[in-house]
């Protein structure tokens, strides 16, 4: 029971963190690593810093739009 509560709390906070990050255009790095490991094990993945810079550049590149 105690263990369960702890797990739920951790999930809640990671959800909040993911939401805040995606609000500013940064998807989950863990999901990216998982994807690379599953689908492209032969390609070296970007480091967390590279990933952050890549996503930042993408957010403000061509085709980006935000509302009034």
């Amino acid at each position: 029971m105690h263990q369960n509560g702890k797990y739920a709390l951790r999930r809640f906070f990671s959800g909040v963190r993911d939401t805040a990050n995606l609000m500013i255009g940064i998807p989950s790095y863990e999901a990216y690593r998982r994807h690379m490991a599953e689908r492209h094990p032969d390609v070296p993945p970007m480091s967390e810093t590279e990933f952050f810079r890549n996503r930042m550049a993408a957010r403000y590149g061509a085709g980006g739009a935000r509302c009034c």
Binding site: R17, L22, I24, P27, A31, R34, M56, A62, C67, C68
Partner: protein
């Protein structure tokens, strides 16, 4: 269980009806703001549970088993299957901006009732439907953008017209947003200092994120937030300082040039230095302030001071001119229906949806949430004393600039207020004057200060909360100006690229600089025009913005209608035809009145004629002060009128293309929509 659920929904419906009844049947007694909140929430629940799910099941026939772009093209970067709640946050943060905060404040001049009804019914039948439909269409086409989809479904000419329309609306949005910042910060050293302080704070955050601890957004955002609060706290001393105070006390024209220069420089700086960190700060601040406002309204439960209907519901109001139809439906765009959302619902969101089952929650409910922001803004404007509201929102040309002249003029309008009260309110919020602070943002800031200080800090904190609210609005408006200039630059490069393909190269410097300069020049022109307009500019530019925004919504809903015809789902097409027709009627009527009406307060052309006639006789008409100013007024009028004609052309030609494509689809006995199928690409 089923019976229980039926009883539950019947109760929600009863609650909605009761709350609407209280709101509409107000008889002189001020009603409580909570009735509006209750009416809104229960109507949203009903709209989502019944209409959105009806659209999902019968009209779109969403298929939870069909792989979404995020699943099929998963790359961990742009295409990522995302938890629905996380994605909801992303989508909401992208659609919510200054629009839903400003429009409802301006609309309050007619009383709270017309605006409330339009926001509530507009969102359920038009705005949320549009966002949801565009999201659906893009989700079935690999997350393609609105322009590309119009091209795919309606042909290249219609696609180019839509792209051009999107660029024009961007220009007008940027101009009107910048104008709101100018109006809020002119002659306000405290406000200007705190907003200016965000630039070094953001640059510090940018350097930290780049070189010291890359990617640690949470910790640096907290540091940035603390610095912001310090800037607000010490802003009071800066404003009071005999040396620094005058340095931050600028006229509207000075601010206008500063903003134009800032827009040009900010848009060519590397994004990590200024734009991105400030965007982070403003996004979190925006979400935080919206949540705090919702809590504040519920805790305070303020009574509405504004009557349900003012005499200006029949037209002739000082805040903006024109009658309830069509101009109310133009003034409140975001919050009821916003064409701009079509660009976002066909942007990053469709690439992140993990299952088609999530689409109603993201597309439809996301817009309901923005509508709630608009409702809160309307409540904010309506809890203020109407005399104060009209003193803040009427142009100086009508009410003068002294407390005595403003109080006399507004009292004569039928909303009694004393000069002392105007001075006291200005003192409470730490400003030298609040008279004719048009543009909506300062009015909302006074209301937010009222609500927040009721919950935290009391009277002594009012000035802090006022400047907090101004900062919150200015921060994300400046971010929008910066990001919008960049987006506008790419759109322009795309458009010019149709003629000169070399212009499309996003990486080469010269086209980028030219397109940026053209984009800043375009919104800068309208900003300057608005700032120097003696009637305040808001009443010229806001209707243009509204027409442009609703025009884009009409284009998006026309696309949605065409797609339904091509899917052979045309018997359900009334779902999009109904709001599309309403928007076409509103934008065309408003556009025509802006050009053809004989009333110079409504029509640009009539206004230009009036001034031209006077000029021919060598007369100078107020508010112009010289013959040279007369000429400028006339030229601005003709440019604004031309813009209206362009908007009319965009709407009407899109509708014609839409009808032609729909009829063609009707004649073919199989679906012709160009969906990208669920088969993996490899």
């Amino acid at each position: 269980m089923q019976i229980l659920s039926k009883i539950g929904w019947a109760l929600v419906a009863l609650l909605a009806a009761a709350a609407l009844g209280v709101i509409a049947l107000e008889r002189g007694e001020p009603i409580n703001a909570l009735w509006i909140v209750i009416a809104a929430v229960s109507l949203y629940l009903i709209g989502y549970r019944f209409y959105a799910l009806y659209i999902a099941r019968s009209v779109m026939r969403l298929d939870p088993d069909r792989p979404t772009p995020a699943v099929r093209r998963q790359d961990g970067l742009d295409y990522v299957p995302t938890n629905r709640y996380v994605l909801f946050g992303h989508h909401f943060a992208a659609i919510a901006g200054a629009g839903p905060l400003v429009g409802p404040v301006l609309a309050a001049q007619m009383g709270y009732l017309p605006g409330t009804l339009w926001i509530l019914f507009g969102v359920i039948l038009a705005g949320a439907v549009q966002d949801f439909m565009v999201l659906f269409i893009s989700m079935r086409r690999d997350g393609k953008s609105l322009g590309e989809m119009v091209r795919m479904e309606m042909g290249p000419v219609a696609g180019t017209i839509a792209l051009f329309g999107a660029f024009m609306i961007m220009v007008i949005i940027l101009a009107v947003l910048a104008l709101i910042v100018v109006r809020a910060l002119a002659d306000s050293p405290w406000g200007l200092f705190t907003v200016a302080a965000t630039i070094p704070i953001a640059i510090f955050m940018g350097l930290y994120l780049r070189f010291i601890r890359p990617g640690r957004v949470a910790e640096i955002s907290i540091i940035g937030f603390v610095l912001l609060i310090l800037a607000i706290v010490y802003g009071r001393d800066v404003a009071a300082s005999p040396v620094l105070g005058p340095l931050f006390t600028l006229t509207p024209v000075q601010l206008c040039w500063l903003l134009i220069g800032y827009g040009g420089i900010a848009a060519i700086l590397p994004v990590w230095l200024l734009l991105a960190p400030r965007d982070y700060l403003s996004t979190f601040l925006k979400i935080g302030a919206i949540v705090a406002l919702a809590i504040g309204i519920v805790v305070m439960a303020p009574p509405l001071q504004m009557p349900a209907l003012t005499k200006f519901a029949a037209g002739g109001g000082p805040v903006w001119s024109g009658n309830l139809f069509p101009f109310l439906f133009i003034t409140i765009a975001c919050g009821a229906v916003s064409g701009f959302h079509a660009l976002i619902a066909s942007g990053t969101t469709p690439k992140l949806i993990s299952s088609e089952r999530d689409a109603p929650f993201i597309g439809y409910a996301g817009m309901l949430m923005e509508s709630f922001v608009a409702i809160m803004a309307l409540v904010g404007a309506s809890i203020l004393d109407p005399g104060l509201y009209f003193s803040m929102n009427s142009p100086a040309a009508l009410i003068g600039t002294t407390p005595e002249s403003a109080a006399a003029a507004v009292t004569a309008m039928g909303f009694p207020i004393s000069p002392e009260m105007l001075m006291q309110t200005a003192r409470d919020v730490g400003e030298s004057t609040i008279i004719s602070r048009t543009g909506g943002a300062p009015t909302l800031a006074v209301a937010m200060a009222e609500i927040f200080s009721h919950v935290v800090g009391g009277q002594t904190m009012k000035a802090f909360w006022y400047h907090f609210a101004i900062l919150f609005e200015a921060l994300f408006i400046l971010t929008a100006v910066d990001a919008g200039t960049r987006a506008g630059r790419f759109m322009l490069q795309d458009l010019i690229g149709l003629v000169a393909p070399r212009f499309r190269e996003v990486s080469s410097l010269v086209p980028g600089f030219i397109a940026t300069a053209l984009c800043v020049g375009a919104w800068g022109y309208f900003l300057y025009q608005g700032v120097t307009d003696p009637l305040g500019g808001v009443n010229t530019l806001w209707p243009l913005f509204g027409i442009a925004n609703q025009m884009l919504a009409a284009v998006a809903l026309t696309l949605a209608t065409v797609v339904l015809f091509r899917m052979k789902q045309h018997r359900f097409a009334w779902v999009t035809i109904l709001p599309a027709t309403w928007l076409v009627v509103c934008t065309v009527t408003a556009g025509l009145q802006k050009v053809l009406s004989s009333d110079p307060t409504v029509s640009f052309v009539a206004h230009a004629r009036k001034f031209s006639d006077a000029l021919a006789q060598g007369q100078v008409l107020a508010p112009a002060k010289s013959l040279e100013q007369m000429q400028r007024v006339i030229m601005n009028d003709w440019i604004d009128a031309t813009l209206c004609v362009i908007f009319l052309f965009v709407v009407i030609s899109t509708v014609v293309f839409g009808i032609r494509t729909a009829i063609a689809a009707l004649r073919i006995d199989r679906p012709t929509a160009t969906e990208i199928s669920g088969v993996p690409a490899e």
